[in-house]
Symmetry: C2
Amino acid sequence: MTVKRVPVVARILEANDRMAGEVRKRLAAAGVRAINLISSPGAGKTSLLEATIPRLASRMRVGVVVGDVATTRDAERIAALGVPAVQITTQAMGGACHLEAAAVRLALDRLDLSKLDLLVVENVGNLVCPAEFDVGEEAKVTLLSVTEGEDKPLKYPRTFRVSSLAVITKMDLVPHLRFDLEALRRNLRKVHPKLPVLELSAQTGQGMDAWLDWLSGLKRK
Amino acid sequence: MTVKRVPVVARILEANDRMAGEVRKRLAAAGVRAINLISSPGAGKTSLLEATIPRLASRMRVGVVVGDVATTRDAERIAALGVPAVQITTQAMGGACHLEAAAVRLALDRLDLSKLDLLVVENVGNLVCPAEFDVGEEAKVTLLSVTEGEDKPLKYPRTFRVSSLAVITKMDLVPHLRFDLEALRRNLRKVHPKLPVLELSAQTGQGMDAWLDWLSGLKRK
């Protein structure tokens, strides 16, 4: 995704920012906060939500907008938890590698915002494109699984720089990998020195409490 | 990445196809075959090459062009094996989520093609964008690690449909995962019924022989 020195792309980004402003205004009016969940394919966004939503139920009412190139699998997984879920497939938009605010705005029409405290926008699995597009969220949260290696923050710096939180997932797999957790922490600090980092496992529950606290404490932008 | 019904993007893709034709002609003239290696971030492209290149040395002389948004880490890892490696960083091009043929053509100028039998283009870690861009290869090879889950072929169908081979990586981790290998195989068949599939582990060497044989048997396009 080229984002500089190409007028047509600059116009797309400006239009997206305007639309994101509208989404943000509608969410704020309804008292709903929002996060934009970003990661590589298979880093565990949906699994994390499956572990999160039941544990959060006593504190926050959650709704989810899920982006994928194709399939409605993830929205079905979320809906099975008994919370509202809307799937956006970007295949109809040429297979876009990210969600844009316009699509999230349309998804809001399918949700009863008066019954939500938190909207999670689960973006298309991608560590490059979603970083460029505000979808009206309070915070971008980037997930990175331990199986992806220590160097990803250095290789995809922009995504981590625009994030308000990094979540290292699949911590239960560390004993089975040649993986240097301290190197990953160091690389995260290199690209974004003040980025809060949580380490968790949706399978074992490790680190889930800190994540739930972070979500509960999310402030309006 | 929008690819249909947007004239400016259609022109970009046409220009890329012309440039890919030039790359292909130059490689053919030098007797060099090429593959375009695609996967999510951290699926193990570079680790597979580290395991492949020494084992292939008696059969083929390999050169590598590596694409990343940022860093020259992967080219350094490949160069440490004693083979020529050229790094393309797309950060200078606005952080593109894929390699284009024009960049590969420039990279060819840094390689002595008369000393190569196989050029591996290791694309930017991404399961969406690289599928659209021919870089002059004989075959696109898509890697998918077992930690990414069974559903990725369904969610990123185009990438698998344009591939000549799928390689399932990190097979050594299967015992530690809730993972249904048969479901992954079934999903691969759903999106591309005739796609050959190899299952391997760069760590244990499982499946490496079949992969080396596939590379050795690669036919010119």
